[in-house]
């Protein structure tokens, strides 16, 4: 008797925990509310199945506890019941899969007006690059990376000259403007993840990966590395500041382009040589 009761309490406790939990998702700050809705839907359907199955189990335990003078039913198969259960499950699974695939379709199709942001990761830090006035990012190569070329931009690529370099682990984004995050890594796997934006993707050395989102709430957010990348993984944090258009443009105007950075280094070099000569 008490066995069934304890299992019943476990089920009731689980449901109550879900209703009253103080731990739930961090407030969303991007366009991916659809992901949250699909999770909620899955919670209703899946949670319903969980509760139903467990309650039925508890019922059986309470109702059919062993008695010496009773016999169990003898019924090896019930084709009709099995068929009903199979189709009901298939239907439920399709109902969950469909919204999942619809949102994935949005996730892999980036809007045309999205701002491309090059996110470069290494052990253990981030830096960012934005396209300049031409709206295009220059191509890059790991071998080009040097003090005077921190992003490894191909020097011959005309699109690279006006790229905006942000040698900081914090980047500013414009509110309500879709962003296409282009991820690359120079050493191991990383993952640029902001819980409030819901979206993530691994940065893989040797290739460029992408995902997109549209921030829709002004504020500061913490960036976490979400793919294990060695002993400094837990400390590999960064930041995002989502701003209104006006503030964002002020910030953007203060950033250095690749051309300016090259010039600065050349001047440093010339000055350095002069010093050396003296």
């Amino acid at each position: 008797m008490h066995v069934g009761i304890i299992f019943l309490l476990v089920i009731i406790g689980s449901v109550l925990f879900h209703i009253f939990t103080p731990w739930y998702w961090t407030d969303i700050a991007s366009n991916w509310g659809g992901m949250d809705s699909t999770i909620t839907l899955t919670f209703w359907v899946g949670g319903g199945v969980f509760v139903a199955v467990c309650l039925f189990m508890v019922y059986c335990v309470l109702r059919y506890e062993h008695k010496e003078d009773r016999r169990a039913e003898y019924k090896p198969e019930d084709k009709k019941l099995e068929k009903i259960l199979t189709w009901a499950t298939t239907f439920g699974v399709c109902a969950l899969l469909a919204p999942g695939l619809i949102i994935w379709n949005q996730y892999v199709n980036v809007p045309k007006n999205a701002l491309e942001v090059d996110v470069m990761a290494w052990q253990w830090g981030w830096q960012y690059r934005l396209p300049g006035a031409d709206g295009k990012l220059g191509t890059t190569q790991v071998r080009n990376i040097a003090d005077n070329n921190p992003f490894g931009i191909n020097p011959d690529d005309p699109f690279g000259k006006d790229d905006v370099m942000i040698e900081s682990d914090v980047i500013n984004l414009e509110n309500n403007r879709p962003v296409k995050i282009l991820l690359r890594s120079v050493d191991v796997l990383h993952n640029w993840y902001v819980p409030q934006f819901r979206s993530k993707m691994d940065a893989v050395p040797g290739t460029v990966t992408f995902y997109w989102f549209e921030p829709n709430k002004v504020g500061e957010y913490e960036v976490l590395c979400a793919e294990y990348c060695g002993v400094g993984h837990y400390a590999m944090r960064g930041g995002v500041e989502v701003q209104d258009k006006a503030d964002y443009e002020v910030w953007l105007g203060e950033q250095e382009t690749f051309e300016q950075l090259s010039a600065r280094y050349e001047k440093l070099n010339v000055d350095g040589n002069k010093l050396a000569k003296k």
Partner: protein, 612 residues
Amino acid sequence: MSDEYDNNKSYQAQSSEVLDGSAGSINPDIDYVRPAEIPEQDLYHAHSFIEKWVFCQDAKVIGVQYFLTAAFTGIIGLILSWLMRLQLGFPELAGFMTAEHYYQFVTMHGMIMVVYFLTALFLGGFGNYLIPLMVGARDMVFPYVNMLSFWMFFVAVMVLMASFFVPGGPTGAGWTLYPPQTILEGTPGSGTGILLMLISLSLFVIGFTMGGLNYMITILQARTRGMTLMRMPLTVWGIFTATVLAMLAFPALLVSAIMMTLDKVLQTSFFMPTILKAGEVLEYGGGSPILFQHLFWFFGHPEVYIVALPAFGIVSDLISVHARKNIFGYRMMVWAIVGIGGLSFFVWAHHMYVSGMNPWFGFFFATTTLIIAVPTAMKVYNWILTLWRGNIRINTVMLWCLGFIVTFVNGGITGIFLGNVSVDVPLSDTYFVIAHFHMVMGIAPLMVIMGAVYHWFPLVAGKMLNETLGKWHFWITFLGAYSIYFPMHYLGFIGVPRRYFEMYDSPYMTSAVGMNEFISIAAFIVGAAQFILVFNIIKTLKTGKKAEQNPWKANSLEWYTSTVPPEHGNFGDRLPVVHRWPYDFSVPGAKEDFIPQTTAPSEVAHTEVEKT
């Protein structure tokens, strides 16, 4: 060929007579079972202590050896989990632990539990002990290779344990061993530690192949007379299908281990692209880190089912025996096991939705993953329908089975979250994933292992384990483990990432501190509770009640051996002859509420047996 045809015919006649059920119309051929096609195998009997207990060729001893070795690794894995939980719950008490240590513990805990504990225990332990007994064979078909299989596993475990003592310590690359970080500085144990891990895995695969061939061929070729495939206990079906999966999946692990060893030792670039490290470009170029992930998960996902399918099979048998009712929908259960096994090779990239592989794969793998939910759900329905209208003994074994159903359904449903591609995006690499896979492939199979230990201990040792201790063991483990992993899902919703040595003070993560402390305390208690079983076993061996033959009144052949515990050769002078499936419980018209597989139809002519 003509012989075979005739035999089939008489077999069908027999089953139609049984269906008829009316006494008086019994065909004289009713008890006919096809003659044996091959002579019995010669057994090599041990001549010395070493041959009997160390380099033993008896599958039952090998099974116990596998079980004890795997249990030893499990205890190591358990202690490592305590250390991790100490750091996560009470970092101020874990001052001795650096981030390097933490990541090494995480890695070794994962690898040990999945491969060296669960896989070895289910297939090496239960497989060796139960397969020959359950199919009515005297031993595995290749006893010598079987012995080598265990010792290869033993060496693999020793190599793995040795890595704790080499300079730099064991690898801390995460159990998935993703390159490039696995073999680069910046990851703990990227020198000798990772090499020993790769060698140990290779040895494990070699040893496992020897055992796996034995399990498969014994089941296919050495079944006793009358033991058709559709009369096999579901335990055997589960272990058989899992072994086939292992034979196909482990080669992927072996080749990836070899390729990574070459990348490490000879600077080849299978998995290594151009890499900039500490301002210098390394001597690698052109390799693909994602290739490794495909190979790893082509092994890794079937691996989940290599653990799960034997658990499914065993729990079906335990539920049926202790509910005194036939397993509901036996044929559906068999096809579900085989179907899940087949599908498990087409879902691997659901571990890689956010890995940077071509995102269009997501559509395919989400669909295949959710399809696999259908046969899995059918199995769950059939378990609870077996309980329905049963005559359920609420003993320790049944408690573990009920605990399995709750944890497995819980973990299965969170699997639907993670399998559903776009839902996976916010949840992947968070504590939601940790909670999911511990619930579904940690706790649920563990419940089955424990149930199986309490169920078969009287057969292995000839003594009954103490029920009171068993119930304490169950309730602490079940309630404790559930309160570890159920709330942990919610950490994932918050967005707390996995594999973090420290959380610092991110605003949305500080709310998790209290929960982390609670989870850690529960983990300490649950871990300690496992020693109740150790104590129970020692106490029972010394002073326990002697078990009668077939104490649970089960039908399958392992309970009908010539002696308890069974001796080498299992069945005395004559092998048993099988007349029916192992689930004839509570058959109307029968005197007892069970009819053993060896009972001929003419002995129970008045019963209304529906299925043979």
